[in-house]
């Protein structure tokens, strides 16, 4: 199944919040929706969920306008919240029913997800009696209750300890492997890199960059070379002497035993290799340095992560 957001534009009063935003998410894959606070992520998500209507543009499923009555969507909002005083089981069944499940199926799915989250023993307790991390797990169960075809997760890992983060990681992988399309919004780039093949970065309501992470990385010039050596200081001195004509900068990092060489032209890598072959300094590795997702985010989203 292909979920597509097509040319979304939305304004609140005079303020244009989204301008011509388009991207797509496929079943069995995760898409990273990134952007700084206020970039338009939540508005985009709310339009997908049908909370807001776009001024123009549309949300499509396999090329047709989305029918939220038939498509099952699971949503984990950034602002977590359920009923603190209500029993966990009771409110999960309620949310399941609101998502279109029958009472029986909602009860079955509630029991199944509570088991999966290792939370069955708390089923009859009010939510407020649980720790923050466990409340987060209940919130995730509420999002996944309807066996969604499209899952929207907004900062799913915030507030989770490493054990619960591991559990959540497994659950998300299961859902992706099970054929769900996942839209993943987070500022924790390691998780985006772990789950997502494709990303969309929004900047002031516009798409700054979109596509597969691999392609975006490849679009960066491949002129940054990281050399690893225990004699990094000597290596740096040698390189300054031998390749200063082709190098833009040569930066030794004695702490990490590396030397980073930025070439003026990425095609001069062969010359660098031949110069390295001529020196007697022991070199452990030679690698083209690729930008991190953080670097990409900073470049396209503007400002810092």
């Amino acid at each position: 199944m292909n979920f597509e957001v097509q040319n979304l534009t939305k304004s609140f009063g005079e303020k244009e919040v989204l301008r011509d935003v388009s991207f797509s998410a496929q079943s069995g894959k995760a898409l990273g929706l990134l952007g700084r606070n206020g970039a338009g992520k939540t508005t985009t998500i709310r339009i997908i969920m049908g909370v807001f209507y776009p001024d123009s543009g549309s949300v499509l499923t396999d090329g047709k306008p989305i029918d939220r009555n038939t498509i099952r969507i699971g949503y984990l909002p950034e602002e977590r919240g359920l009923y603190p005083k209500k029993k966990i089981e009771e409110q999960l069944i309620y949310f399941g029913r609101l998502r279109g499940l029958s009472k029986k199926l909602a009860a079955e799915n509630t029991a199944r997800w509570l088991r999966r989250m290792d939370m069955s023993q708390y089923a009859g307790k009010p939510l407020e009696t649980l720790s923050k991390g466990n409340q987060q797990k209940i919130q995730l169960a509420a999002a996944l209750l309807c066996d969604p075809q499209l899952i929207i997760l907004d900062e799913p890992f915030s507030g989770l300890d490493p054990v619960n983060a591991g559990l959540l990681r497994d659950v998300i992988k299961e859902m992706i492997d099970g054929g769900a399309a996942v839209i993943f919004s987070s500022h924790q780039m390691n998780y985006i890199e772990e789950f997502c093949d494709d990303i969309v970065i929004l900047n002031s309501g516009k798409i700054a960059v979109s596509g597969s992470i691999k392609e975006i990385r490849r679009s960066y010039p491949r002129n940054n070379i990281v050399l690893s050596s225990t004699q990094s200081a000597e290596l740096a001195k040698y390189l300054i002497r031998s390749i200063s004509d082709i190098a833009e900068s040569i930066m030794p990092d004695e702490k990490n035993d590396t030397v980073t060489v930025r070439l003026k032209n990425e095609h001069d890598k062969a010359r660098l290799i031949s110069e390295l072959g001529r020196c007697s300094i022991d070199i452990d590795s030679f690698a083209v340095s690729e930008p991190t997702l953080g670097d990409i985010f900073v470049r396209y989203a503007g400002g810092s992560v």
Partner: protein, 422 residues
Amino acid sequence: MKNIGKIIQFEYLNCVRNKAFIIITAAILLLIIASSFLPGVIMSLASPETEKTDNQEIAVICSDSLYGGELVSREFCRCFPETAVVLSKEDIETVKSKVNDSKYRFAAEITGALEYTYITKNNSIYDTNMQNCAQAIKAMYVSTFLEPYGIKADQADALVYADVQNRVLTTGTDQTVNYLPTYILMCMLFVSITSYGQIVAQSVVSEKNTRAMELLITCARPTELMFGKVIGSGLAGFTQLALILTVSVGSLKLVSSSAIPTEIYKLISIEPGSAILAVLFFILGYFMYAFLIGALASCASKSEDLSNLISPVMMLMVIVYMVLIFMCVSENYDNPVIVIMSYLPLSSPMAMFIRATLTDIEPWKIILSAAVQIISTIIIGIAAAGIYRAGVLMYGTAPKPSEIFRIILRDLKEKSKRKAKP
């Protein structure tokens, strides 16, 4: 609107399972049951001597030169049918000490044709013995006065105790029967509309406060959420109101024959017509105010903001209530102010209820007022849905009235734009 039934059920159960709701309902019901028996208890307390002194005698001291013993005995026995009357020949001090020792319930020393001294141990404000004594002496006086004219004692008694029978034929509305229940029901209308409106408001703010709204708003349409909440809470309120009315009527029926005098029973018993009108105007009034309060509450992020936002509506309700109460004091229920108020949307539920129960009003006027209320409720509901849709996702400072108005306009514009799209 596929989710509205589920939301109504959830909200209804939420309300009726709420501990505060259960405690308040139980307390009110207990109070009603207790107060139904109260008049009877007060009545019995009002004549404490009667019960305690059932076997006591009353002493009458009367010189034969004033009234004959037979006459005295007959008239006092007639006025105190359940008590033994003793024509005492003891001296006054002995009688006083016997009264003090509760051997006599009381004593009456007749000192003149129309004069007597009432001797009692404790003089209570509920004591009705003196009226009865006076009645007996008056009868004796009349009888003695008429005897020379050949009128026998029993004929004189028939004249003295002649009773006038009357019946009331009301061509309009019997206000003596309706006024107290009307005030009680109007008070209930006011209290229930404001308190159930508050329940809706608190529920909306708490969903925003706990951010449950973030998820809810993606599961159901805002209109469904608001209508579900208003109807669910309203049904809970209606359940409470129905319980209160049922228990009130039931306990009145239970005690009417025994404890409460017919006059008082008539005053506080609710006529079926009034109860039906109360239910009708509760439903109409509740929805109108609940939509308004719910929509305004959706603009509040914190409970502290809530009172500021909904206080104008509450104030309006209080003003309407107070004006109606003051107008009713004048007992002119067709007062132009009440008439106008009975057709204005926010005041009509209470104003028309008063007119419908206390005046002889043509049915079409009630229907017209109900129609005004239904149409206003629909308009308020549409506007409220617009405010709610924008308000539930609005955090931070509560919006000003002008902003709320802009929200309604924007919502209407968006709706017409969507409709215009093919």
